[in-house]
Each structure stands twice: as C-alpha cells, then as structure tokens.
C-alpha cells in the first residue's frame, strides 16, 4: 500500500510539474514577444525552476534510514529510470554529445551505442543481484558478498577516484550554465549550484534526489527537444527532428559538396592507434562505455530503490529509454546547425554576421578563421590572410566548440530568447542533478559502506545518517574547490569516470555475481589491478610523458581516459581470477550466500542497521 502511494506521488509530481512548466514557458514566450527584457526572462525561468527543485528537495527530508539511502525501496521502474537518466546525463551527454557528433558522427554514435549496451549489461548482469542484496552501494554489495572490510575499502577508494573529477566537472558546467541563464559571474552561479545540490541531498538523501531528479529530467528533456523540433518544423514541416535530420544532413552535404556516404568514410582500414578514427577505435569506445555504465556507482546505487528484482531489470530499460530521448536528439543539433550555417551564413559578409557569432567568439567558444573575433572588423582582420579571401565567410572558416553547440543552437535556429534561456536552464538542472547524485554516492560510500561497514558496524541508524550528511557537505565543498579551479573539459572527466568504473569496478562486480569460486583476495586483486592500470593509462593520456613508462607506454595504442578500460578491465579480471584460484576456496556458507544473491525471491540479506 505504501509503495503504491509512493508510486502515485512520483506520477503526480511529474504530471503537475510538466503541465505547469509548459504553461510557464508559453507565458514567458508571449511576454518576451511583447517586450519583457531578456535578462528578466532568464531570471524568472531560472528562479522558478530552482525554487521548485529546492522546495521538493527540502520537503522530502527524512529521518528514516531506508528512505534516506534507498528512497524506501518504493520507486517504480519508470520513475527510477527517469531519475537515473537525469543523474547520469550531466554535462557529458547533455552538452558534450551533440558537439561530439558535430566533430565526428561515429564517435558520438559509439557513445550512444555504448550506453545502450551498458544498460543491457546492467539489466542482465548487475541490477537484479544488487537489488536482491538491498546493499546501499557498490562497496556495501561487494563487502557483503565477500564478507570483507578490505574489499569494501578498495571499492570505496575506486568509487571516490572515479567520481571526484566528474563531480567537479558537473559543478563547473552548472556554474557556466547558471552564469549564462542569470547573467551573473560564474563564481556566484557556482554558489547557487552548490546550494541546489545541498538542498536536494542533505535533508532527504535518495528520496529527495529521486523526486528532484524527476522534476529536473522534465526540464532538461523539454529544453533539449524544443530547439531542433522547431528547426525541423521550419525546414520540413515535421516537428520530429529524429526523423528528419538525415535529410538535413543530405542538404548540408549537398551544399558542402560532400559525397552522400561521407559518414562511412571513417571506417576504412585503420585499426591502430585507436584514436585514428577506425572501426577498432569506435568499437573500443562502445565496449568501454558499456562496461563503465554497467558499474557506474551513482547509476548502480539507484537500482536498489525499486520494489523488486523484476523492477530492477526493467529500470535499466527505463533508464535507457529516458537517456535515448536526449541521446537520439543530439545528432539533430549537429545536422540542423550544419545546414543552417552552410545555407544561411556561408557567403555572408564578415562584417555583417549574426550577433551570436561575434558574442560566442569573443567569449572564446567559437573561432572565425582560427581567431576569436568580437566584431566584424576583427573578423575581417582574422580572415584577411586566408587563401581565396573575398570578405565573405566560407563554411570551413567557422568552428564551433563542442560544448557550445547546444547553448548556441536556439540562436543558430533563430528562436526567441526564451529558447536560449530554456537550454541554459536545462543544462543547469542536468548538471545539478548529476552533481547531486555523484555527491550522494560518494558520501554514502564513505558514510555507510566505510564508516558503517568497517569503522563502526554497530553505529545506530541516526549516527550513520548524520555522518553521511556531514560527508555530503564536505564532498560538495571539495568538489566546489576543484570546480573553481575550472576544469574546462566536463566531457573528458565524465569519460574518465566511465573508464575508471569500467576498469576498477566492473571486473569485481562480474566475478562477484557470476563466479562462485571468486573470493575476497580475488575481489581485492580485481579492483586494485583494474583501477591502477586504468588510472595509469588515463594519466599518461592526459599528461604525456609524466610517468616515464618506457616500453610499457600505451600511447602507440591510442588509448584515452575512456578506452584505458579496455586494458584495465581484462587486467583486473585476470588478477581477480588468478588471486581467487591461488587462495583458499569459498566455504559452503559463502556459496549459499551467492545462491541467495542470485535468487530473485526470498528475504534481502542486507544486515539492517537497526538489528546491529
């Protein structure tokens, strides 16, 4: 009964907010048409969304440990899927995917394919067993499975390593989006983002995160779908850009003089290095993203909030569905932007380009003739020495930064200002949702999995929640300090989180469920080896030459911080298998525990804190 009531709550909030949001957008658009200043439109939209999210988050405050860590295990698969999609979207997918597709259609597609495979891996290999255990996190699950504090510690360390950079990047991206939306300095916007993250996590934990993530998903989805839908309707009278962007690409290709099958050119012949754009490189991305998604801590943790093992399988499907709403819209941005730029800007005088070109170029996100130009005169000066200079823009002379495409799209598509404000609001909520999920997962890993599982297993429920809440504040503070240093590659750090999850956690999760012979020594070897190898390769990619690896230098392979998992995960798996075989086999009780994890029915065997 309580679960049905909870499911009804999520549906009511989603329906109410969607209706109110659409009405508010229409009203703001009309007010903008009748002269309301742009700054006020952005402020009203942003403040309204943030106030709603904060109110929902604060109202969801709880003292119940099951509600705080697991949202009462009452979230339906669909609601959980929506919240999970919001949690993982962040800057990487929401902002970065469209730009990645503009730069290289196959790389962007490989990321989408990887997420699809990752959700499948989660549905068949991780989610049902994690849910059955009712563990509070990956480290908790592995600690229970292997009955080992050392395994918990290893998993907690890897979780923190994988997620910290992603937290900083999400906060930095939220600050950028907030600064755009409100027209305020990024430092002030960062403060607002931090307040929002705390409001959605500290009091209500997973319950608040779930409710606010549903609201945030609605905002980001409507924001992301609207601009290309309008562009598609303007071009083809069909407001479904996912069906029409191919034809937009066709027209763009025709205008640019490209062959119709230019998208297939990348696949011929190249296998190494993996970054060179060959088939092996794209497959490497698919497999790395898949393994990372299946073991991503702030995604896996959400599968424990559903009422049953069956819902846990389905929640992976719902997560993929809500991710695809955005991921399959991302290519439409690239397609319609290409078409608009080639058709409407190519051949335009450099001194009379649209304002958005000069503004974004002056801000450092777009180049004209490889230079940043603040006005027409600067544009002419930048292009004067290019071959064939005519005083007009050639399409190849305009380069849009990959994180900018989504922000600039409403202006490229000539939408009213409310479209630009909406995109910035969507980006802000996506990044705040991701930051909240990541921060909660990190704090929960230390507060529950480490403190409650190793340091003080007899801690009361109240004490554990207090520790986790304090750790949430500390985690967010640390992430804020790193974000203020301004990591300017949110996309890269999101990929690094996936890479470390794939290399460091996926092998251990695999052997925990699927191999009874695995023991604690094997799990520690798997986590340690996978994490170390993946981290070293990622470090060498980011800062070449730092590690002086000599003959072991992975650079010739072309591995990145993401595809480092292709070496890390097998290394971790091999270490896990060898260490397990070289040490004492599991006992009959251990095998019975594995059978209990695998069985969907029966009592979840997590040791409830109240009974300790």
């Amino acid at each position: 009964m309580a679960r049905r009531q909870a499911a009804g709550t999520y549906r009511r909030i989603a329906a109410l907010f969607t209706s109110a949001f659409i009405v508010a957008l229409v009203v703001l658009a009309l007010l903008g048409h009748f002269g309301l200043p742009e700054s006020l439109i952005g402020a009203i939209l942003g403040a309204g969304i943030l106030a709603t999210v904060a109110a929902v988050g604060i109202n969801a405050g709880t003292l119940d440990i099951s509600e705080f860590y697991l949202a009462g295990r009452s979230v339906s698969g669909a609601a959980n899927g929506m919240a999970s999609a919001a949690a993982v979207m962040g800057g990487g997918i929401y902002l970065g995917l469209a730009g990645a597709l503009l730069a290289d259609p196959w790389t962007g597609a490989a990321i989408t394919a990887g997420w699809s495979l990752g959700c499948l891996l989660m549905a068949v290999g991780v989610a049902p067993y994690f849910r059955k255990s009712a563990a509070f996190g990956i480290a908790d699950f592995l600690g229970i499975r292997f009955d080992s504090g050392a395994v918990r510690i290893a998993a907690v360390v890897t979780t923190l390593l994988a997620l910290f950079a992603a937290l900083a990047a999400a906060l930095a991206a939220a600050a950028f989006a907030g600064a755009l939306l409100f027209g305020i300095p990024e430092g002030v916007a960062l403060t607002i983002a931090v307040v929002m993250v705390l409001a959605t996590t500290v009091l209500g934990g997973m319950r608040a995160l779930t409710l606010t993530a549903i609201v945030q998903y609605i905002v980001l989805a409507i924001a992301f779908l609207l601009p290309p839908a309008v562009a598609s309707y303007a071009e083809f009278s069909i407001p479904i850009p996912q069906l029409t962007f191919g034809y937009a690409l066709d027209q763009a290709g025709f205008l640019a003089g490209l062959r119709a099958d230019a998208l297939a050119e990348a696949l011929t012949g190249v296998f190494l290095p993996l970054q060179a754009g060959g088939a092996a490189g794209y497959l490497a991305i698919v497999l790395s993203v898949a393994m990372g998604a299946a073991a991503l801590p702030h995604l896996v943790i959400r599968t424990a909030t559903v009422p049953s093992v069956d819902q846990a399988r389905r929640t992976a499907g719902w997560t993929l569905f809500f991710l695809l709403v955005v991921a399959m819209t991302a290519p439409t941005y690239a397609a319609f932007a290409e078409l608009t730029i080639l058709r409407d800007l190519r051949g335009t005088g450099l001194e009379i380009l649209p304002d958005w070109v000069y503004r974004w170029s002056d801000a450092g996100f777009l180049t004209v003739c490889d230079g940043y130009v603040a006005d027409g005169i600067a544009a002419i000066e930048a292009c004067r020495n290019t071959p064939g200079f005519t005083g007009n823009l050639a399409a190849s002379e305009l380069a849009i930064g990959k994180d900018l495409l989504v922000f600039a799209a409403p202006e490229i598509f000539d939408l009213p200002y409310v479209g630009s404000a909406l995109i910035a609001a969507g980006a802000l909520t996506a990044c705040v949702a991701a930051a909240g999920a990541i921060a909660f997962t990190m704090a929960s890993a230390v507060g529950n999995d480490f403190y409650g599982g190793v340091i003080n297993p007899r801690a009361s429920a109240g004490r554990q929640m207090i520790v986790t809440r304090v750790l949430l504040i500390v985690t967010v503070a640390a992430g804020t300090a790193a974000a203020a240093w301004r990591p300017d590659d949110a996309y890269g750090f999101a990929l690094a989180a996936l890479g470390l999850s794939a290399g460091g956690l996926f092998p251990a999760m695999l052997i925990a469920v699927w191999w009874k012979r695995a023991n604690a020594a094997g799990a520690i070897a798997a986590i340690g080896t996978g994490t170390l190898v993946t981290a070293l390769i990622a470090l060498e990619y980011r800062y070449p030459g730092t590690l002086q690896l000599g003959a072991f230098n992975p650079s010739p392979l072309g591995l990145t911080e993401l595809t480092a998992a292709l070496v890390g995960a097998p290394a971790g798996l091999a270490a896990g298998v060898l260490a397990s075989l070289a040490t004492a086999p599991p006992t009959a009780d251990d095998n019975a525990l594995v059978d209990a994890i695998r069985r969907p029915g029966g009592t979840p065997f997590v040791q409830e804190i109240e009974s300790r």
Binding site: A264, G317, L324, G601
Partner: protein, 86 residues
Amino acid sequence: MREGGQDIWWRRTGRLAALMVAAAVALAASPLLLPGVFSGRSLLGLPLGWFVFAEALPILVLIAIFWLADRQGTFDHRYDVTGTES
C-alpha cells in the same frame, strides 16, 4: 524450491544473458567491421551503416531489455525461485 531446480534456472539465466549481450555486441560491431555490406544504402537520409549503429541498435537493445525482463520472469516462476520478499 529444489536445489537442482535452481541450478537449471541459473544455467538458463546465464545462457539468456550471454546470448543477449553477444547479439547486441555483434549488432554493434557489424557496421564497423563489415562496412561494405551497408555502403551505398541509406534510410531516412542517413547512411545505412551509421543508422544501424546509432539509431537501430539502441532501439533494439531497449526492446530487448524489456523482453528479457519478461522472459526472465517466466523462468523465475517456472523454476519457483521467486517466493515472497519481506
């Protein structure tokens, strides 16, 4: 629920999981490793190989996950591994 029953159930579960993952990986790899099969054809204005990789694969995997949940539920009931959760 008999122990032997769980063994059979687990083998079928593992087989289903392995089959689904292998099929998905094969579908993802086919446009990449066999570009010649897809070249020269297009769908909705998109080259067929890219369409299969970027559009068809995610949708098919999405359908497969829900189909798999149903199928697995059938296994669970057939081998009586569900029981009552408290």
